[in-house]
């Protein structure tokens, strides 16, 4: 992919991701269910990665992660690394099989959320922030993965519509 092809995606990320990060940090508590916050940035990054492939997914992950790091009190870069790693794995299939089944984006978001938190926990543990892994997975990771997967039902079609507007010509490999 050349830089010109990345440009519309970059412009979209530049306005959409700050809005989502701001909403996640400032309005997130209002959207929480049983103490679990929605991962709006993660959802956008994963859905865009599924639809637009690795380069675009990682670009969004990088930018979205930086924004989450700005709003977060944990070591700077933890969210960036976690999201970039998640986006790289999500985009490996380049969406070809994910597009074929309606439930696969849900499963992808579920897995991506689990991986994201495991990486963040690992970074926290490595930076002198003790993590109770079993309790963390039970009380934070799995509920968040479930919540994000449910939100994908709404988020994925929205991101797909956005993609259709940003890139009116479909990708050659679909």
């Amino acid at each position: 992919m050349n830089a010109r092809a990345l440009y519309p995606g970059l412009v979209t990320a530049l306005w959409l991701l700050p809005v989502l990060a701001l909403l996640q940090a400032a309005v997130g508590p209002r959207l929480e269910v049983q103490g679990v916050l929605p991962g709006l940035v993660l959802l956008a990054v994963v859905c865009w990665g599924i639809l637009r492939g690795m380069d675009q997914g990682m670009m969004w992950a990088f930018f979205g992660g930086l924004l989450l790091d700005v709003f977060s009190g944990w070591p700077f870069g933890a969210n960036t690394v976690a999201l970039v790693v998640v986006a790289s794995l999500v985009s490996l299939g380049e969406g070809t099989f994910i597009r074929t089944h309606a439930l696969l984006p849900l499963a992808t978001v579920f897995g991506a959320t689990v991986l994201y938190y495991l990486i963040v926990f690992f970074i926290l543990e490595s930076t002198q922030h003790p993590v109770d892994w079993v309790a963390g997975i039970r009380s934070i990771v799995l509920p968040a993965a479930l919540y994000n997967a449910v939100l994908t039902v709404v988020a994925f079609p929205l991101v797909r519509r956005l993609e259709d507007r940003v890139y009116p010509v479909p990708r050659a490999n679909w």
Partner: protein, 278 residues
């Protein structure tokens, strides 16, 4: 397929850049501060609007729950009025005794500055919140933060010009000297990333009961004393262990923190040397 293996250079660039940022993150704090300062006014507006809208919608949908809560609060209020009368009588006696023994309580002249929570940690790991008061308002690192009812929330861990980061009691980096108000057993309440805070360093021989109130002990002069931290929910004692394991339910509701109070005139004074130099 449009993309080639060579076309992955962007992906590799972002991958490497992300790890570099994590490695040098400590030195990027000035950039982080600038970004947070830039986002703060937007976050204040968005959280203000969401609180107003959320309260209105919540009021409509939770009418039944609010009625029962109201009834409960009325009962509690009646109980508290009775306790207040007793406390006022005790206060009078205390003032007399204090004057007689010339005892000075540093807690009695606390200056509170209210602040609004403008955002909380977006990762879902609830350990920090940010308030709309910063160095311009006299915030300093280490200042104690209470919720709107006066329950212990945490302390200021980072100060920016117009915002401050509050380290919550729940954060694993948080350690607060604590005291069982009933039995006077002393310990430390440590934050826990994925469970209730735990009171540690309480000797197995010390008495601690479920429902006992835990308050700040004021040891090491890090926090004012007698601020309510929470209530004991579980005590686990093993005779072969030196210390007990005690779960504490925080009195402050960290999920719905909107307004906090910062104690401005209490700045921690850590002893220069805990252990005297040889």
């Amino acid at each position: 397929m449009v993309e080639t293996r060579g076309g992955r250079r962007f992906a590799v660039f972002f991958f490497v850049a992300a790890f570099l940022i994590l490695l040098v993150g400590r030195w990027l704090q000035p950039v982080d501060t600038v970004a947070q300062t830039a986002f703060a006014p937007f976050a204040a507006v968005v959280s203000g609007v969401s609180n107003a809208v959320g309260d209105t919608i919540g009021g409509i949908f939770n009418a039944g729950q609010l009625r029962s809560e109201n009834q409960y609060l009325k009962t509690q209020n009646a109980k508290l009025v009775r306790e207040l009368v007793l406390a006022q009588a005790n206060l009078h006696d205390y003032a007399l005794v204090k004057r007689m023994v010339k005892f000075e309580d540093k807690n009695s002249h606390m200056d509170y500055l209210p602040g609004r929570v403008i955002w909380q940690d977006p990762t879902g790991i609830r350990s920090y919140v940010y308030i709309d008061k910063g160095s311009r308002d006299g915030m300093r690192q280490g200042m104690t933060v209470l919720d709107e009812f006066g329950f212990f929330v945490g302390s200021i861990s980072r100060v920016m010009p117009s915002t401050s980061q509050v380290l919550l009691l729940e954060n694993p980096s948080s350690s607060v000297g604590a005291l069982d108000l009933t039995t006077r057993a002393v310990g430390v309440v440590d934050g826990n990333l994925s469970g209730p805070p735990q009171m540690t360093d309480v000797l197995t021989g010390d008495k601690v009961h479920v429902n006992d109130l835990i308050v700040t002990s004021g040891q090491m002069n890090l926090y004012p004393r007698n601020l309510v931290i929470g209530q004991v929910t579980r005590v686990s004692t093993q005779t072969d262990q030196l210390f007990q394991r005690i779960d504490v339910r925080p009195a402050a509701d960290f999920r719905h923190l909107e307004i906090v109070q910062v104690i401005r005139n209490w700045v921690p004074s850590i002893p220069a040397q805990v252990v005297p130099a040889r």
